[in-house]
Symmetry: C2
Subunit: 226 residues, 2 copies
DNA sequence: CTTCCGGTTTAGCCTAGCCTAATTCACCGT
DNA sequence: ACGGTGAATTAGGCTAGGCTAAACCGGAAG
């Protein structure tokens, strides 16, 4: 019943719902999946008749409870495989997205749970994103915010990336940023909403981050001596 | 270019070639894949025009060098995943076939090689079948024979199973047979080509094996005190 | 209230893979 | 040399999932 394609659609809708509240547009789904809007409309009819989305023409889509559960399971598998690839097989964090995208479609509760146990029930994947439980619930990550909302003077520890596309992660690598990196916000530039920071312990004295970057980095207050 | 379906066809042809020498029949492929002969014929045209098989109507098929290499890579991935599932995640040997059947289709040289390294470059999978190298060659397993060819009085150590379908493996479990089990051949029954054996170290004194079973077990001479 | 424009949907077409039914071939025995 | 017969192939059709082009809303601007 569930195919790779439908899983990808459900996952995309889940992730778009996180940002835009309710009523995900077909074109945003199309953009995220690299498909044409017309194809999305066609698929929405199928997803609706299977009871996985609430959909009415011209009004966007939302996941049903069943649809959300399927999407969550897919995300869970994706993040477990990423954790495995980085933690166990030694891949870099910018190499695993596409592989996990394939592995996530192997649907087996046994496999997923055994993998989870083998990895020691990890809480987050290599990009700092929370891994859903077997029952499809998140351990919500409290107290984290986007770097774009930080004020001058703040010492922020990077704990997550919003966009785990490989090219974004490689960009972070070349800037010297990674999970656990601590930065001090030096200056804000309202003109283009960019930001100058000092990387604590880094080689470069100062680093300039575009809004595209700061809007995709999660941080928490850095504990001085941790 | 390579799809899941074509990989399955190539793998099936490879395994049928092992038995029947040259000219694999379309119906044998159909049977192995659970498809209709007509579907196989259709696929053969596609495989031929992609240069993966030699095929002439009414004359059976053979793999080309390219086709064989693809098939070998698929088998390699399949057996590495089976080894991982049993050795690392703790699955039983009769639970992994279907899962590996799915995982094998994730085509990534990096992933395959990293997995191989993580597992310590295993020589055989949990069913005793040899794992092809990265270059697509077997370490040939010399000196093994089918149990159906053993003579009365021989002490045989089971080192492989020909058919790793889950139900066959479960049957072996219930008989008390597994990889490494040593049996002594007690009697042959030419009528139905069945065989009575004594399982060395087993609880049952005597065990009766059908030809269906003995034709799917590989053995080597058991070393008395090993 | 009307118009316009961009996003959405429908209509129609395509490919991959599979199926069933009908046809064709190859080979064996006479 | 000639049928028969079972295996193999062709013909035609189906579903899933995608695409392009054309038609269609619906909300903002006049």
């Amino acid at each position: 019943m569930l195919t790779e394609s439908t899983e990808n659609y459900l996952k995309a809708i889940l992730q778009l719902e996180a940002d835009k509240a309710d009523g995900v547009s077909t074109s945003s789904i199309a953009e995220r999946l690299g498909a044409q809007p017309a194809s999305v409309t066609g698929m929405m009819h199928k997803l609706k008749e299977r009871g996985w989305v609430k959909y009415e023409r011209y009004k966007g889509v939302d996941l049903t409870e069943t649809g959300r559960r399927h999407a969550m399971e897919t995300v869970r598998r994706h993040r477990l495989w990423e954790t495995f690839l980085v933690g166990t097989l030694g891949f870099a964090w910018d190499e695993v997205h596409d592989l996990a995208e394939q592995l996530e479609h192997v649907r087996s509760t046994d496999l997923t749970d055994q993998l989870d146990a083998f990895l020691g029930h990890p809480q987050t994947d290599p990009h700092g994103d929370p891994i859903p439980n077997a029952d499809g619930t998140f351990r919500t990550s409290v107290g984290r915010a986007l770097l774009s909302d930080a004020q001058v003077g703040i010492c922020a520890k990077i704990v997550g990336v919003g966009d785990s596309q490989d090219d974004f992660l490689r960009h972070l690598n070349s800037l010297g940023l990674g999970l656990g990196t601590v930065v001090e916000v030096k200056e804000l530039f309202p003109f283009d909403r960019s930001m100058a920071v000092h990387i604590v312990g880094g080689v470069e004295a100062r680093c300039h981050l575009s809004s595209r970057v700061t809007q995709n980095l999660w941080w928490v207050e850095a504990v001085p001596d941790a």
